[in-house]
């Protein structure tokens, strides 16, 4: 039997593939071939490892959070600290690898989509570092909500193009980035931000993010000499989740739990719980779970977390869900914000709202396990803290009513930059 962690695509069970215009096939083939060669190339491996170490600051530590864990049934909770990476999230792991890959295939320009702006900022950062031209597509709606990140990208030298098509959010930014790529494929590489899209992106992004789980597995082993009982991560497209899951996929005793954004609650229809409440179909080049109506039109997602506000999900997650290797659970805005508050107040660590979904999932799971009879002192949860909360201060301040009316007056323009 093939190991789960060796799955290479283009298919993950019934999911994945390349549902894209023929014009992109040559570029996807080139990318897949280049990555196949590069990923085992000692020079590349050394260059990427040096970047991780000297630029990003890897390995990111694991931190045990006992005061927070009291709220999770008193089990032991360890955080994998991707929030401490340069640029503030796991996104940098992917873009550094893809920037090296871009150089390798002889291209001079990168494009990317972004929702909240985290992947856009990471891509613009890598472009600045490597001297690549950079264009970021961002839904017009999101450029207003995340004006500060637009400014960050522009400071880094990227061109930010607001997308006015469709719902003017992440999914439309992806459509527009693919349109750019078709027209400019000879000079341009598309640095896809998550482990979704057509082959080879799901496998490529997974390969570049799996360092999260590989490090954490070794760090836990050194620290406590055993595997965790469960690994918990938030899932939008699913790159930090697949990144931390991969090292544990073949350890059947380790539960893998993906937390999807349930927005106002799955029952309200205003959510982004793609696996939990969606159905299989094709979106953005892959067969996968998505939110769609009965005619197959994509339904807009909703979440307080821009990074999870996506109506699709990576095909490998769809597969892991369908075979039962990973579980996917809904976490509402309210549950995530409560976890955000808890970690901040009990540990002095302010998580990204995306990551707060995983923290909320850990609280629920810890309590469940203890209620079912587990010994809290012998129960270990590993949580992917995929990003830091600096970017979310404004949203959180508003949620908790911490902004006085004069300071909040600029919020519609995203102009009250408190960070």
């Amino acid at each position: 039997m093939t190991d789960f962690r060796d799955a290479v695509g283009p298919y993950f069970g019934d999911f994945g593939g390349r549902f894209v215009p023929e014009a992109l096939i040559a570029a996807l083939d080139d990318l897949a071939t280049a990555w196949d060669k590069l990923k085992d190339d000692p020079t590349f491996i050394e260059r990427l490892a040096a970047l991780h170490r000297d630029y990003t600051g890897r390995p990111s530590p694991i931190t045990e959070v006992p005061r927070f864990a009291e709220h999770a049934g008193g089990v032991r909770v360890f955080l994998k600290r991707e929030d401490l990476n340069h640029t503030g999230s796991h996104k940098i792991n992917n873009v550094l690898g893809q920037a090296l890959l871009t150089q390798q295939v002889g291209k001079t320009r990168v494009i990317a989509e972004t929702g909240a702006g985290q992947h856009g900022v990471a891509t613009a950062t890598a472009a600045a570092l490597f001297g690549l031209d950079c264009t970021i597509y961002m839904g017009e709606e999101d450029t207003r909500r995340q004006a500060l990140n637009v400014a960050r990208m522009r400071l880094l030298g990227a061109e930010v193009i607001p997308v006015t098509a469709g719902s003017r959010t992440l999914k439309d930014a992806i459509n527009e980035a693919f349109r750019d790529w078709v027209a400019n494929v000879e000079t341009t590489n598309y640095v896809f931000g998550t482990a979704a899209g057509p082959h080879p992106f799901p496998a490529l992004v997974r390969d570049l993010q799996k360092i999260i789980g590989e490090e954490a597995r070794e760090q836990l082993s050194t620290r406590i000499g055993r595997l965790p009982d469960a690994v918990v991560a938030c899932v939008g497209g699913g790159s930090n989740a697949i990144g931390i899951f991969t090292a544990f996929l073949d350890d059947a005793e380790v539960r893998l739990i993906g937390c999807e954004a349930a927005g106002d609650g799955v029952e309200t229809g205003r959510h982004a719980a793609t696996i939990g409440a969606g159905s299989p179909g094709v979106l953005h080049g892959a067969k996968t779970y998505l939110l769609q109506d009965e005619d197959g039109q994509t339904i807009e997602s909703h979440s307080i977390s821009a990074g999870l506000d996506y109506p699709g999900v990576g095909p490998e997650h769809s597969w892991l869900a369908s075979i039962g290797r990973a579980e996917y659970r809904p976490v509402t805005d309210a549950e995530a914000m409560e976890a955000f508050r808890l970690l901040t107040r009990t540990e002095g660590i302010m998580p990204a709202i995306e990551s707060a979904h995983a923290l909320a999932g850990a609280i629920t799971l810890g309590r469940e396990l203890v209620a079912a009879g587990a010994d809290p002192a012998e129960t270990v949860l590993l949580v992917s803290l995929s990003g830091r909360g600096d970017k979310d201060v404004e949203t959180a301040a508003e949620w908790f009513g911490l902004v006085d009316s004069s300071a909040a007056s600029g919020e519609d323009e995203g102009g009250s930059t408190t960070a």
């Binding site: 390349r18 023929e22 469709g166 078709v182 005619d295 197959g296 039109q297």
Partner: protein, 272 residues
Amino acid sequence: MTGSRTAATIDAARAEGRAALVVYLPVGYPDVDGSIAAARAAVEAGADIVELGLPYSDPGMDGAVNQEAMQAALAGGTRTADVLRAVREVAETGAPTLVMTYYNPVLRYGVDRFATDLVAAGGAGLITPDLIPDEAGEWIAAADAHDLDKVFLVAPSSTTERLHLTTAASRGFVYAASTMGVTGARASVGPRAEALVAATRAAGAERVCVGLGVSTGAQAAEVASYADGVIVGSALVRTLIRSDGDRDAALEDLRLLIGELAEGVRAGRLVR
């Protein structure tokens, strides 16, 4: 198997020493009845083959004009069932009527069920811009079982191997995307289109039609000098986008443009 009426129509045009004129219009723009009226007017004015677009929320291969029309069609409540009704009413003209659609709406409807209902409506087949033959097993099986055309696309970036694969999987014609890009009018059709048609023929294609970027009679004539069919889409859609909402005037503009394009595909033989 009765064979492809689309192919027969292209062959009949060829016998007249010209290329076929293939027109694209999205169903539901300006509304369903309006799009049916436009497609029927296009046939009366000289279109040989009709592609009816199934509006989709994420049309990754379309430029701004078609995106806008599809978005308006969806906002107006256009459903997959409306597309099948449009096929029925347009196919009554006698012109082979294909549906151009992204894959997910067909997958959601049920691939075999879609094929069954398309045949019942008198439709000729599907053009699938985001479905390559490699991924199309289910659709190919349904199309073959129901005697429908399978129009796949080739692009300037297609390798010789892929031109063979795509040609072998296609029925009706092979759709050659003239440039590396999305739908929409362009100043010139691009030098790569002619070479792509030649390469696709060399890969075994009997009928190759060229689309993307054709908007004028002169461009139609140029393309007609080397291709079996000339596909025009967003330039026609643009005639329907009117701020004053005057549908009669829009249809008149559409007829005029079709007339110009029909002359173009006939002028093309002089170049040949």
